[in-house]
Amino acid sequence: MAKLNSSDIAIKVTAVNKSYIVGKKKTPALENINLTIQAGTLFGLIGPDGSGKTSLFRILTSLLLPDSGEIWVDGLNVITEYKNLRKRIGYMPGKFSLYTDLTIKENLDFFASLFGTTFEENYDLIKDLYVQIEPFKDRRAGQLSGGMKQKLALCCALIHRPTILFLDEPTTGVDAVSRKEFWEILQSLKKEGITILVSTPYMDEATLCDQVALIQEGKILDVDTPAQMVNKFTNPIYAVKGANMLLLLRELEKDPSVERIYPFGEHHHLVMKEKDVLPVLPLGVTINKIKPNIEDLFIHLMQHHE
């Protein structure tokens, strides 16, 4: 298959709104979402649970109608051309959705046949993944471990060689090693020319994407490359460390020159209001200027939106 031209637009979302009725109240799930995703990119939608990631995925895959707005995916209108669209996209929902009483091989054959293709025809695309679960190919999907289920689900989403792959929280609840492996798989799929839209609540995964959108409470906070995005964090930020971290946190919280301080791994991240102004530090506390990361920016944007 010819690789897609990188200047092509894979996904275009304009002014999308969606709300649900909860109890008797109308609750907005997505508010004025605008996104443009270039073909061939690995695009990350980053935000916590309940921020609207799944609603947006379901709208983009034609499984849910928006209240308003326009959505084009792979050159097709999601609302009027959904039948054609569904043949071209692959979707792996956050919740395991394969047939638990079919074996690995039966699931793959079934999904291939739905799309009028065969396991053999597109085997090269899933080979690297499939060989990892092949020893269990006659085991029922319901009997597989979490890691194997995830690999099978990805194989099934790829078996018809989609142009765009939608992965809704594929790494949630997955340990650090398996997460790393999963992202390596995504990098290799990208080389096949597949556009990948992946959502995750793990902020550290942002740097593995070409472009990311940060989403919180149904609103897009920012869209950019991860490297460009952190440049928008303009306050001076430092990593501080002392013998009693809890006490250090409580002390610095009270300092008027401090914009924010919060734990971050072995350090606290200290955000100052002004350049070249440092708080009074207790003896023995180390302080180093650092580059902000996506999580720092997310915290910053969350507080500014409140």
């Binding site: 109890g23 979490g146 194997m148 340990d175 650090a176 997460r179 734990p263």
Partner: protein, 246 residues
């Protein structure tokens, strides 16, 4: 009284030929924040079930809150709290009803429940939401409430199974604030997480690989031992050795 909240000696659990937990030994001190890490399928859940008195070990000894896991598992259940990301509160009960329900299960007197409920609602700034269904609360609030409910009966130990999964970065840190407060009040914290930055917030961390505890120390010492810059590196270094195919 013993200074340890949890004592585990040569504990194993076997399913047929499969050693889910393979001869683990460790102690957790009272008031300690103990991180229990491991890859998916390493045996964490099986080990936790034994410590909570929900699953009988195949061999070895363990005592939790001073009670034996074989003979006194009912006493263990009364003296621990438990919360996980997957199961915490009843969505179709209100905030107040959830508190009342859990406190009732642990046999707290109705008058005391009433007093403590108001105190708790005030503390969590949930007074206005007290009569709302839990399903209507944002995830972060739910998790904070679930934790408070899990320690409402003032257990000696609370087991937290991935309590912050999917929670936004600010709420995640607020959640850890609650953990610190509970630990300062003498409650022992036994916590699993996939966020490696959270491993740093623990006093000590154990890392399970293929049913065994491969490392156990303070985050600082672990990083020194494995010559690693972060807990993430330590974890990757150890968990990559796993041979078990889940």
């Amino acid at each position: 009284m013993n200074k340890n909240a949890i004592v585990v000696n040569n504990l194993s659990k076997q399913f047929g030929q499969f050693k889910a937990v393979d001869d683990i030994s460790f102690e957790v001190a009272k008031g300690e924040i103990f991180g229990f890490l491991g890859a998916n399928g390493a045996g964490k859940t099986t080990a936790m079930k034994m410590l909570c008195g929900l699953s009988m070990p195949t061999s070895g000894q363990a005592s939790v809150a001073g009670f034996d896991v074989y003979k006194e598992n009912e006493s263990i259940k009364k003296n621990i709290g438990y919360m996980s990301q997957k199961f915490s509160l009843y969505e179709d009960l209100t905030v107040r009803e959830n508190i009342k329900f859990y406190a009732g299960i642990y046999g707290i007197a109705p008058q005391k429940i009433k007093e403590k409920t108001n105190q708790l609602l005030q503390q969590l700034v949930l007074e206005k939401e007290a009569d709302m269904l839990v399903s209507q609360l944002p995830l972060g609030w739910k998790q904070k409430l679930a934790f408070s409910v899990a320690i409402f009966h003032e257990p000696q130990i609370v087991f937290l199974d991935e309590p912050t999964g999917g929670v936004d970065p600010i709420t995640r840190r607020e959640f850890w604030n609650l953990i610190y407060d509970a630990a300062a009040n003498g409650i022992t914290i036994f916590v699993t997480t996939h966020y490696m930055d959270e491993a740093e917030y623990c006093n000590r961390v154990s890392i399970m690989v293929d049913g065994k505890i491969e490392a156990l120390d303070s985050p600082g010492n672990l990083k020194k031992t494995f010559n690693a810059k972060s807990m993430d590196e330590v974890f990757l270094h150890l968990a990559r050795k796993a041979k078990r195919i889940e």
